[in-house]
């Protein structure tokens, strides 16, 4: 071997390395599917030992990738639904990517990277309001007005859900669920403690005081991601500020340094100081808030229409429970509601098939066939068996009939501003800020956000 051979070997080795770098995968043997853009991973099939690749559209078979937040229990209910669709449409494969457990905290990030990487899911689950805002503004989802005409969706879903998924007059999502939230309580425990469902805010607070005397916490919160705590704060804002001001605050047309906001923060601090809230809740995860509630250490949780299935899954007797809408002393009595939707990626490869699937998914017929999976459907007329799910039916009636509701604040704000909201809320709880300081800081965050995002 002489010098020339050395140089040649090196040149080849370097170029090979360079090419390998460009191709990403240096020709190594691997079990990875050959089509990196279409992995089909069904997240919860119990024997999902390996993710097999569905044959990509080389002819008829299509894979629709759906991103969602379904946890293990939910997937158990959704899988038969998906299987049914696949049976009816043998050329379509549905693959689900789930990011569960942390609510709106982690899933949007995962989604953002998926969209940024140019490899988006065909459809993805999303909450309504401003949480979906960034995706619409960054032009990553399809405008669905045409599909609405095609499928007549305007008649299918509860009216206020359509409002929440619209933006600038166009519709960007298909409402999937409609949720409303109230205080859930254990009827037996209430009898035991000698308290009744309050009708006014004063009665609510009196109830908490009475419970305190019996060493029971009034409400159980899991503050880890901020949004569980926010629900209680939203209730106080509705009570202290009233419907109009509340809406203005959400639209950022009223200053958050307004006295009614200060009063809301003061209410919250009062509840914490009086020991009406479970202690040390700031990094308790929202799911964990159920433990004191089930155990009887706390009287209330502020949860939604999905809670009946939570009760059932945790072996609680749902006949012992009920809910009531938190009294706000305002007219109309509004409560917190929010829809969830499916949006279609702009860069998705099969928009028509995706729309067809979503149409089927949210149709009343499908909901009737799989009542438990669609217990909170936004579709008018889709109700679960009200004998089995009395509480769900009851709350759903309130939800879909409601004329006037308010969204949870995390659907009114984008994440950056929302984190500021959470920051203020947590600081007040921990007494790092007084309510006045908190309100001022909140307005400061609003101003900063507006400046940074040129709104």
């Amino acid at each position: 071997m002489n010098r020339n051979t050395t140089i040649r070997t090196f040149a080849i080795a370097s170029i090979a390395t360079l090419l390998a770098a460009c191709a990403g995968m240096p020709g190594a043997p691997s079990a990875a599917p050959a089509q990196p853009n279409a992995p089909a991973a069904t997240a919860a099939a119990p024997a999902a030992a390996d993710a097999t690749t569905a044959p990509v559209a080389s002819g008829e078979k299509i894979t629709l990738r759906i991103a969602s937040i379904w946890d293990a229990t939910s997937m158990e209910q959704m899988q038969p639904v998906l299987d049914d669709y696949m049976k009816q449409n043998p050329n379509i494969q549905i693959a689900v990517d789930n990011t569960a457990g942390s609510g709106a905290a982690v899933y949007p990030d995962v989604l953002k990277t998926a969209l940024a990487s140019g490899n988006p899911p065909d459809a993805f689950f999303m909450w309504g309001g401003e949480i979906a805002g960034p995706f619409i503004d960054a032009d990553q989802v399809l405008n669905l007005n045409d599909f609405y005409k095609q499928y007549g969706w305007d008649k299918v879903y509860g009216p206020w859900t359509l409002d929440r998924i619209s933006r600038n007059g166009s519709k960007f999502g298909v409402p999937y669920t409609a949720h409303g939230m109230g205080f859930w309580y254990n009827k037996d425990n209430f009898a035991k403690w000698g308290v009744e469902v309050p009708k006014t805010f004063a009665e609510q607070e009196a109830m908490c005081e009475k419970l305190k005397g019996q060493n029971v916490y009034c409400v159980s919160i899991g503050g880890k991601f901020g949004w569980h705590t926010m629900r209680i704060l939203d209730y106080f804002i509705e009570h202290q500020c009233g419907p109009d001001k509340h809406d203005q605050l959400n639209a950022l047309t009223l200053s958050w340094a307004d006295p009614c906001v200060v009063a809301s923060y003061q209410s919250f601090q009062k509840w914490v100081d009086n020991g009406w809230v479970v202690p040390d809740f700031l990094t308790v995860s929202p799911d964990d808030s159920r433990f004191p509630f089930f155990k009887g250490d706390a009287a209330l949780v502020l949860e939604g229409d999905w809670y009946e299935s939570v009760l059932k899954n945790n072996e609680q007797d749902n006949k012992k429970y009920n809910f009531y809408l938190p009294p706000t002393d305002q007219t109309p009595l509004r409560f917190s509601t929010f829809p969830e939707q499916f949006m279609i990626s702009k860069d998705g490869k099969h928009p028509n098939e995706t729309a067809a699937f979503l149409n089927w998914l949210t149709s009343p017929e499908t909901a009737k066939k799989f009542p438990t999976a669609f217990a909170s459907s936004a579709t008018i007329g889709a109700n679960p068996d009200c004998n089995e799910w009395p509480l769900t039916c009851g709350l759903r009636k309130e939800v879909l009939d409601a004329k006037s509701t308010y969204p949870p604040t995390d659907q009114a704000f984008q994440k950056e501003l929302m984190d500021g909201f959470f920051e203020v809320q947590d600081n007040i709880v921990a007494k790092k800020l007084t309510p006045e300081e908190g309100a001022n800081l909140m307005q400061q965050r609003v101003d900063e956000w507006k400046a940074k995002n040129k709104k």
């Binding site: 071997m1 460009c22 079990a31 853009n37 089909a40 997240a43 119990p46 030992a49 457990g101 155990k295």
Partner: protein, 292 residues
Amino acid sequence: MTESLLLPKRNATVATRLRRSWPTLLIWIGLIFLAALWLIPFIIILLTSLRSMNDLISNGVFAWPQRFLPENFAKAWSIGNFSVYFRNSLILILTKVPLGILIAALAAYPLAKMRFRFNNAIFVIFLIGLAIPVQVTLMPLLVMMKQLGIAGTLPALIPPYVVFGLPFQIFVMRGFFRTLPNELIEAARLDGCSEFTVFWRIMLPLSGPALVTLFIIDALGTWNELLIALVLINSEAWLTVPVGLLRFQGQWASRYTELMAGVVISIAPILFIYIFLQRYLVSGLTAGALKE
């Protein structure tokens, strides 16, 4: 023979020996106690992972499990999709680690054994890589991978993983090569071997221990890496173990028993390898850290 820093020279008398050895005894007892403390987290998660939630809620974390529930592991494994995560991490290790070490060894050879003008400068450039935070490459990497069409998939991790492993690996290989006698190389050169042959047939084979050590260290680092994988991979099918574990936590947020089972599953292979191969690990660290 290790000299003790703290003991005065040993005396033959039994009495004095006993009297003088109690500091050591105390130290040893202290160490045992600390070691027990160190192991507590492992013990706790193992115990937690073997119980049922009801047991945990009713009896607290101290109590011995009412019933042992190995089913937790089966459940965590299947629902947690760990087989996929393990597969992905393993593929990554088997492709990335040899590639990275080869590139590093190739670079280390001239840095160790050849004289040329920019030798030291280039070495310094590589060393600086140890201080560079991953964050400063994340956004561009995402864009680059998107342009290459591999964003969101496993191959996207290989280039950044290799590049961040190079500084340490070059340092260690260079250090090791320098210990190899020059006579071997001279002899080979005189025989007419090309440099590449010298490298491939002499230097590499003699570097067995260093290569094994680097392999283990790099494999561990690859298995454990979080941030780059968090940013570049988002589809369930391509998650590596750390990111998968985060998602798993989301799935099981309040079911601590299954959650701990998942944690145990994800660290078991590492601990297994550690127990058997730790001497390579230790020697590699010290070789990289200290000059021989």
